[in-house]
């Protein structure tokens, strides 16, 4: 009788099997949690299974910044190549744990998507990369609106986002996130670099008139320039918002002409900047005198791609840039040479920031000895490094994930000064890191937890 009682039914067998399977699986979960100091219950795409690890590159392939996006993707492909096979700044970056044989013994592959410079599209692309393609990190973008959107999603899903080109203070200020890192400088740093130079060249009692692209970056830029120039004694007559993607600026330029201002500040980027600066020059703004002085133009954020689009109109105009391919240091040379070898022309600042970001992330994984995001994040926080294309060392500040490095004051070259079609910006001065460093409490913000917070 006992014997028959022991006869297990089909249901019992299945139950038992499930229990055994669960028990076998349990140590695996426990190991993961125990090893991670029990920190996060669930975490992005960790652990990474198999011989490969996937990076996601979310860049604008269509829309106004498609050229920036194309250049970012070129740089990202190059970064993957260098991580897997060595070369580029792997020869100059210090300290460095990467060996040119992938990351933590895994070969890096990548997927890419079109963020359309649209926050909604950015979230969709990033979600697809994370959930379908299983990326461990994503990088790219050419707008602060998409950067802020991507960072929030990164925090939610527990996948690190290495920002591409984003210049608004919010990215590492009000909207800073534990899972977001920015190598690119910001509008506050532009103000700190540009203010004294403007005062020195144009005087301390100028009256400025701002035209500002109507989104988070434009307002951030305009505010920073206002603070910086007013600190030098300037006044700000008016700050007029212009719609993003405007084709004609004549009504705004007329408002400037009708005002008492003698400096026109164009807080525009990409095609907006190309249009506004071209039209301002066509309007004769640069030949004009107001209040008995020469009227001046200022374009706070410059890029080589924009300078190409604006042609001769940028001659002599001041601005700042995060990096330029003409810099003469081993890191810059290593990157520029390998980029030029592969693609036939020098990289833009958008390309540089993405390239460095991808390699810095990979190196942080190697240094942390894991892809586990909280450890990688800790490896990046407070990390000081050199050989990434600047003449001196850079620092990833732990408290807001902003990278501090030298920034560059540039001036548009005239046609006769150019050595090639890419040689458009003259570096007037190298503004040292110490000048653009600012207290972390300048902007309020919370990084959030090391574990994803939905």
């Amino acid at each position: 009788m006992k014997f028959t009682k022991r006869n297990a039914s089909r249901r019992q067998v299945l139950k038992g099997g499930a229990a055994v399977a669960g028990a076998l699986a349990t140590p695996h979960f426990f190991v993961k949690n125990a090893w991670a100091q029990g920190e996060c219950a669930t975490l992005g795409n960790f652990p990474v299974e198999g011989p490969e690890v996937v990076f996601g590159f979310s860049v604008p392939k269509t829309g106004a910044y498609a050229d920036e996006g194309a250049d970012e993707l070129r740089a990202q492909e190059l970064a993957v190549e260098h991580i897997n096979n060595g070369g580029g700044i792997l020869n100059t970056l210090q300290p460095l744990s990467l060996t040119g044989q992938g990351v933590l013994g895994k070969k890096v592959t990548y997927v890419s998507g079109d963020d359309q410079t649209n926050p909604d599209a950015t979230r969709q692309v990033a979600r697809r990369m994370i959930e379908r393609d299983g990326v461990i990190m994503f990088n790219g973008g050419s707008s602060s609106a998409t950067a802020v959107a991507a960072q929030s999603l990164a925090q939610e899903l527990g996948v690190v986002f290495m920002n591409g080109l984003t210049h608004a203070n919010e990215t590492t200020g009000k909207d800073r996130r534990r899972y977001g890192f920015r190598q690119f400088f910001n509008t506050h740093m532009t103000g700190l670099a540009l203010g004294p130079v403007l005062a020195e060249n144009y005087g301390t009692d100028r009256a400025a008139f701002h035209l500002t692209a109507d989104y988070n970056w434009g307002h951030s830029m305009s505010g920073s320039i206002k603070d910086a120039t007013e600190g030098e004694g300037w006044s700000t007559i008016n700050r007029v918002s212009t719609p993003l993607g405007a084709t004609d600026y004549s009504q705004f330029l007329t408002a400037f002409l009708n005002s008492d201002a003698d400096v026109l500040v164009l807080n525009h980027y990409g095609n907006d900047m190309v249009n506004s600066v071209t039209q301002a020059v066509q309007f004769g703004v640069r030949d004009m005198q107001k209040n008995g002085r020469q009227v001046e133009l200022v374009v706070p954020l410059y890029s080589r791609l924009m300078a190409q689009g604006a042609g001769d109109n940028i001659e002599g105009v001041f601005g700042t840039t995060n990096w330029n391919w003409s810099l003469d240091n081993p890191g810059a040379k290593a990157f520029v040479d390998s980029f030029t070898d592969k693609y036939g022309f020098p990289p833009s600042q958008a390309a540089h920031t993405c390239y460095v970001q991808v390699i810095l992330y990979a190196d942080a994984c190697e240094r942390a000895g894991t892809f586990y995001a909280p450890e990688v994040i800790r490896a990046l926080e407070g990390h000081e490094y050199e050989g990434d294309g600047y003449n001196s060392a850079s620092l990833y500040r732990a408290e807001d994930h902003q990278s501090f490095h030298d920034v560059f004051l540039v001036r548009g070259k005239s046609a006769s000064e150019r050595a090639s079609e890419f040689d458009l910006l003259q570096i007037v001065s190298e503004v040292p890191r110490s000048t653009v460093e600012y207290p972390v409490d300048t902007f309020e913000g919370e990084l959030g937890d090391y574990c994803p917070t939905a």
């Binding site: 009504q251 007329t254 002409l257 095609n271 190309v274 249009n275 004769g284 689009g309 109109n313």
Partner: protein, 314 residues
């Protein structure tokens, strides 16, 4: 208000209206005569600016003024024969979908060929520089930049003001184009046939007139006007693939406000919108909705638009 500031704002309003008028003109012409809604009109403008900047950079600007409208005329005829004519009897929604899709294809094609970055469109020597408007010539400083510039006497202003010469040229070109098109439709046999074809195409066919050929020419003309807009507007709007879409929406509103199919309505609505944009420039929140505000008010008061004819698009 300072009379000089007011004069500059009026001039800016006219100039902003001029470019909308040129684009809206082609739209309303095609709609008014064929009853066809052409959302690809902005794409024709994009083709025109790229053609213009290419021709102007490699040869000279005057050649672009002749070649580009001619090229666009040919493209317009091909467009009508190859695509539009199959959609005359289809609902407006189908027409909008097919032309909108075409516009996206053209935009991406241009991006593929020329890149998304702007191509600098330099003004020709004769069109660059400033124009001087003066009430008192002795107030104009004795420097070459003013003394050698084109000038015009204007009453009511104090001393003198300057404005970009090319934008004054654009205003003139726009007015001449409107007048020319109006004359063509009102005073020529071709215009008579086209207007009759609009009313009753069947009867016209009975009379032995090749109506299809006339319609192709109408679309060609609409495209040629986009060509003119591209040559003269390109140096201002600059040359990027997205410009067409950016101009299409306000231009379409100009057509709606002016009354679908009305040439004079389009002109007046364009100037109205230009003025509204010019005078609201410093009030950002108003500036970005003013065009739509005008559209709402006009359509509430006059559902057919300012000069809309009875029976059109109803």
């Amino acid at each position: 208000m300072d009379p000089n500031a007011l004069f500059l704002q009026l001039l800016t309003g006219l100039q902003l209206g001029a470019i909308y008028a040129l684009i809206a003109l082609g739209l309303t012409l095609i709609f008014g005569t064929l009853g066809f809604v052409n959302f690809a009109h902005g794409a024709l403008y994009v083709i025109a600016i790229y053609a213009a900047v290419t021709v102007a950079a490699n040869t000279n600007f005057l050649l672009a003024i002749i070649l580009v409208p001619a090229l666009l005329f040919a493209i317009g005829v091909a467009f009508e024969r190859g695509l539009i004519r199959h959609f005359y009897t289809r609902p407006h929604t189908d027409q909008i979908l097919i032309t909108f899709g075409l516009a996206i294809v053209v935009e991406e094609l241009m991006k593929w060929i020329f890149g998304a970055n702007n191509i600098p469109f330099t003004l020709p020597e004769w069109g660059s520089g400033l124009m001087v408007f003066y009430s008192d010539w002795s107030a104009v400083p004795a420097v070459p930049v003013f003394q050698e510039a084109p000038s015009l006497w204007v009453p009511f202003i104090e001393g003198f003001v300057t404005y970009q010469f090319w934008r004054v040229v654009l205003i003139a070109v726009s007015l001449v184009t409107v007048a020319g098109l109006f004359a063509l439709l009102q005073f020529t046999r071709f215009g008579l046939v086209v207007r009759a074809g609009m009313r009753d195409p069947e009867m016209l066919r009975f009379l032995g007139i090749n109506i299809a050929q006339k319609f192709a020419i109408v679309v060609g003309l609409g495209a040629a006007i986009a060509g003119i807009a591209g040559v003269f507007g390109g140096p201002i709007t600059q040359v990027t693939p997205g410009v067409g879409m950016a101009l299409l929406v306000p231009s379409f509103l100009v057509v709606v406000i002016g009354g679908m199919g009305s040439l004079s309505g389009a002109l007046i609505a364009a100037i109205l919108i230009g003025m509204a944009l010019s005078f609201s420039a410093e009030i950002a929140n108003l500036q970005q909705i003013v065009v739509y505000l005008i559209a709402v008010v006009v359509l509430l008061v006059r559902p057919r638009g300012l000069f809309g004819k009875k029976g059109v698009f109803e």
